[in-house]
């Protein structure tokens, strides 16, 4: 059914007999045709929920053991000992926004390429020109976005702080300029 990809391993139970195979089909029939995948989701979900519950749980249990002497000095934010002036919600380097924009587009590209490149190996086994089609589609997709990256590079947008060459030129002109 999956050509090469479906490498079916004899999934024997660790203790060497196969009782639970039947057990699995009987109880979960009510929900989906073969809800083995749903069972795997359940496992993954229990991992995520357990990990999400842990910090508040630990912090809450700790509340009973932890000393709590709120003192004026302790509650102000740490600023190397001096009194913090102004709030921390202040503007900052706007290069971060460009990174966010370009990241978003390339992250979408990676996510879209996953299903297509997944088939590449199977397309080769199917033979004929399916492999050529999948290759052409996926790498046309990749190439077009690589043009985007080259455009960013050339216009110097992804340089974090004007690249070194610019700065050197800038410093030279500063020295030559009459004070």
């Amino acid at each position: 059914m999956l050509g090469f990809g479906g490498l079916k391993l004899r999934s024997r139970c660790l203790l060497g007999f196969n009782f639970f195979q039947r057990h699995r089909v009987v109880t979960l029939e009510t929900y989906g045709r073969n809800s083995g995948m749903l069972q795997e989701f359940g496992n993954a979900l229990s991992f995520v929920l357990l990990a999400a519950i842990l910090p508040p749980l630990i912090l809450f249990i700790g509340k009973f053991f932890r000393p709590s002497f709120p003192h004026e000095g302790k509650l102000t934010t740490y600023e190397c000992g001096e009194l913090p002036e102004g709030s921390a919600y202040v503007m900052f380097n706007n290069r971060f926004y460009l990174v966010a924009i370009v990241f978003l587009v390339f992250d979408v590209e990676v996510a879209l390429l996953f299903p297509v490149l997944l088939l590449f190996r199977e397309a080769i086994d199917i033979g004929g020109n399916t492999a050529a089609q999948v290759f052409a589609l996926a790498f046309a997709f990749l190439g077009v976005l690589f043009i985007g990256l080259v455009y960013e590079w050339k216009t110097g947008d992804i340089d974090w702080v004007r690249d070194a060459e610019d700065r050197r030129k800038h410093l030279e002109t500063l020295e030559k300029a009459p004070q």
Binding site: M37, A111, P115, V116, G148
Partner: protein
């Protein structure tokens, strides 16, 4: 009461409450945080419906990409954060009324239809099938989306470029450039 019914009900509650706060919470940052709740709830529903690739794609693109961008934008415009204002019931009245009417009407229509023929979701792995769909009937759309991605990327960067000028060095260069 299969575990998945419990999970789906929990996702409905979490998603609904989070969407409510996104719409009505006076402080934009909390609205953004509650948007995370509704997005994760929708990703959970995709999992319960057997769309495993979509659940992961939603987490990667929405929660890992778009929300980072939204939080960057919210952090930039921090003046709104300090002004904790509720936009006034008057401002919310008309949109809430319009949304309530559409919601009630459409819910009545959905419930009036007969949903007897529904089937159980078959929990086959979907990423391979989506790959074949992207390569097969949706190949043109796949290439069209990459062109939209590229134009979006270049457009966003061109729009954002004036705002991303590094004030200090560029002014020096321009000032020195003239004389």
């Amino acid at each position: 009461m299969a575990v998945s019914d419990l999970f789906v009900a929990f996702c409905f509650l979490l998603g609904g409450a989070a969407a409510f706060f996104t719409a009505f919470h006076p402080n934009i940052l909390y609205a953004a945080i509650s948007l995370i709740g509704s997005l994760v709830a929708v990703a959970g529903l995709y999992g319960a419906l057997g769309a495993d690739f979509l659940a992961a794609a939603q987490l990667i693109i929405y929660v890992g990409g778009i929300l980072i961008v939204i939080l960057f934008a919210v952090m930039m415009s921090e003046d709104i954060y300090k002004r904790r204002f509720f936009e006034g019931a008057k401002k919310y009245f008309l949109p809430a009324l319009a949304a309530a009417i559409t919601f009630a009407g459409l819910v009545k229509i959905t419930l009036s239809a007969d949903w007897s023929g529904a089937t159980k979701p078959d929990f086959e792995p979907t990423s391979r099938a989506m790959g074949w769909a992207l390569v097969g009937p949706y190949a043109l759309v796949f290439q069209y989306v990459v062109v939209v991605l590229l134009s979006g990327l270049i457009g966003a960067v061109i729009i954002a470029r004036p705002a991303l000028k590094m004030k200090k060095i560029d002014e020096d260069l321009e000032r020195l450039g003239e004389d």
